[in-house]
Symmetry: C2
Subunit: 229 residues, 2 copies
Amino acid sequence: MQLIIANKLYSSWSMRPWLVMRAIGLDFEETVTPLRQPDTAERIRVFSPSGRVPVLIDGEVTVWESLAIICYLADKFPDQQIWPNGAVARAHAMSIAMEMHGGFQALRQACPMNLGKRFAAPTMGDDLKANVARIEQIWRETRARFGGDGPYLFGTRFSAADAMFAPVATRIDSYSIPVAADTRAYIDTIYANPHFAQWRTAAFKEPWHIPAFEEGLEVIEDLKGAGGT
Amino acid sequence: MQLIIANKLYSSWSMRPWLVMRAIGLDFEETVTPLRQPDTAERIRVFSPSGRVPVLIDGEVTVWESLAIICYLADKFPDQQIWPNGAVARAHAMSIAMEMHGGFQALRQACPMNLGKRFAAPTMGDDLKANVARIEQIWRETRARFGGDGPYLFGTRFSAADAMFAPVATRIDSYSIPVAADTRAYIDTIYANPHFAQWRTAAFKEPWHIPAFEEGLEVIEDLKGAGGT
């Protein structure tokens, strides 16, 4: 299997299937096609009909959308519990994963993923406030109902739902958005996940820097420069 | 099973799982909670943790997102081929369904679903043009590769991919967006689908009209008033 992704520092959609593939111990080849390079479009087009990453190549199969990759893997490896076991938990996991996939535009727009910097909190307009409140509610309710002894949304096992929300956790952290203690605890859980930590370390070693992704934002800490590597 | 949906005239997300449920011949109760009424929020909250519709209640299971409902049903009824058979076709179907679910913002913003009217074409900015071009490409490539004798994206059977794109087909039609002949043929296929036709007829009979959904748009035909019922 080959997973084509973009910059680990910036690509939230790339991170999601990568974390799932690591969580289930898959052996796969990883190809990074950095964004905003002269040959980026051309390099991605070779693999991806939509012109976007991530893309998974598995023999004759091409899957080119982060959540589609996760669903494809869940189908292919039913014993790996990529979605949690049990109809009620599974339906809940799918619901929150798809809610994330199709929503939270305000947060995604105001706070692009950037693992290498910490920024001052953005102006919290109503939409952004509502996004953050809903995220806190989703994590709180899911963990209360299905989390058991934790630390993940559905207990001790990192699931597709955690993968979908991992970049969200980094945004809340990177953009200094104030949240409740239990929300903070879940963010810390994501940062403590060994595969996430590997991804982040690799992101810090990348040579690329895209100033456009920081335009208009106030940097308060440079984590990458500050010895994050 | 109970499916809670919003106005059939306007709710593209409600239409998707409903079409799938009809396609596989499911017996279910349908509850319409009309949008923009004084008690809308309260009525939806009873069923939906996200405050949005559609929501499917299946015994103890609650699923509240259109694509999550479709994936839940595909899991529950594996013999119904909600996703097409065969790993390659299935991965392709998931990819285009999820690409639709997370994208095409320009089209969704400029052309809200409204089955009852025909509007003058919107100003075709670059984003909107790119959205329409990509939709045409998806339908063309999918039908060429997997459509066989058609008429649907994956052949003779209406799949989750068709359900995801059905409201898109109506937008292109309702907003007089110029498309190629093969694209038009697929749109006609959607309009000819008996369950879609039922949905549309029911939409025409709804008593609600929400002027905010037409603000700034130039109506060129009132289909609902013109005896669509």
